[in-house]
């Protein structure tokens, strides 16, 4: 940890300006160098896994300008009080896009939900750029799947010529 010799650090300049806090006598070069060493250590000991980099590159396929995004307007994880002692509390989610509302419940038993106003629609449960499961909502707009999504998911609804996709979430 040679913290006083190297002057060629990228942060030396801004350190000179923000080293006036506290005692005001710290050498900014030392902390800048230390930060750079820590950055190198992170690159070795806790790097972004290459597979994740690739997943994000592939996610470009999810870019769809034609679909309307149904935004998350209620999430029981955030908006509801926890049920103490209850096991396997379903996660309740509501998504909205204009007049279309989608209520979804995710639990260990799977996924169920309802499209409002009720209408028969085709629904895909997306699990990433490639994976999807097809469902159909009945006349009441209800639908269900026997398995809960593992990891990130979104629902894509096709009704008439319109496509609505829910915001990506982690189940």
């Amino acid at each position: 940890m040679n913290d006083r010799n190297a002057m060629d650090d990228v942060h030396a300049v801004d350190d000179a300006t923000d080293a006036t806090d506290d005692a005001g006598r710290d050498d900014g070069v030392g902390t800048g160098l230390l930060e750079e060493e820590l950055r190198q250590a992170a690159a070795v000991l806790d790097p972004l896994p290459p597979a994740l980099l690739q997943v994000a590159v592939d996610a470009y396929a999810l870019h769809d300008l034609d679909a309307r995004v149904a935004e998350l307007t209620f999430d029981s994880l955030v908006d509801a009080l926890p049920v103490r002692g209850a096991t396997d509390v379903p996660r309740m989610l509501t998504f909205s896009a204009g007049e279309v509302t989608l209520d979804v419940e995710v639990s260990a038993q799977g996924l169920m939900g309802q499209v409002l106003p009720p209408r028969p629609v085709r629904i895909e449960v997306l699990g990433g750029p490639r994976a999807s499961v097809a469902l159909t909502a009945d006349d009441m707009g209800r639908f269900s799947a026997g398995t809960a999504p593992a990891g990130p998911f979104a629902l894509r609804l096709r009704t008439g010529d319109e496509v609505v996709t829910t915001e990506w979430l982690r189940a």
Partner: protein, 212 residues
């Protein structure tokens, strides 16, 4: 939910330098190109800002499985919102802030599960696949590896606030203070002083340990 950890690989030549860097002023241009169908622009965004998202996730001490899923969720959502992001030049802040919110949701959910059955909440960073093997080839490399490991250990044992701030700051390429602010919900003006303080604290720990 705890399965499917993607194996890491090839640590010995991990670039920490500016390779593939997205200059912050270029982000807006890249986002607009990606909206128009330029896959190379998208890839450049991912390469430039992926490490920042990873740092935010790691700063929040998620388990490996949670970290991987949150990371993916953030990028899926970014792809989904690509054409609707109001300030494309602030895409880094958008990503950092989305990552933070998803991390906080994981913590909420974990607290809930803690009432029942999950003792593995605070899964520490996995020791799986630590890259030391590749560094142990030569004695010099071994010494270097040891000093890197010591540095990392002292960093991990810093107070939570400092550890979190530094973990985001040391993303590579280094994030802007705007992005750090979005990642941790702290004022831009306080980042510089806090950073100084935390790095001094880390150095003091290293010195106390005789590691300098």
């Amino acid at each position: 939910m705890r399965t499917g950890v993607v194996p890491s690989a090839a640590y010995h030549d991990v670039p920490y330098t500016r390779g593939g860097t997205v200059e912050h002023r270029e982000v807006g241009v890249l986002v607009r190109s990606a909206v128009d169908g330029d896959a190379a622009a998208w890839k450049a965004i991912v390469e430039g800002l992926g490490p920042l998202v990873w740092s935010v996730v790691r700063a929040h001490r998620l388990s490996d499985a949670d970290a991987h899923e949150v990371y993916q969720t953030v990028w899926f959502r970014f792809a989904q919102h690509l054409g609707r992001i109001r300030e494309p030049e602030k895409a880094g802040s958008w990503l950092a802030s989305t990552a933070r919110h998803e991390c906080l949701k994981v913590h909420r959910n974990a607290r809930r599960l803690m009432l029942t059955d999950d003792p593995n909440l605070l899964d520490r960073v996995s020791e799986d696949g630590t890259p030391e093997q590749s560094l142990l080839d030569a004695e010099e490399a071994a010494a270097r590896s040891e000093s890197v490991r010591r540095l990392w250990q002292e960093f991990e044992e810093l107070g939570e606030r400092c550890r979190q701030l530094l973990r985001v700051l040391i993303a590579s390429p280094p994030p802007s203070y705007q992005e750090v602010s979005a990642a941790l919900d702290i004022a831009v003006g306080s980042i510089g002083p806090l950073r100084q303080r935390c790095l001094r604290r880390l150095r003091a720990r290293l010195e106390a340990r005789g590691a300098t």
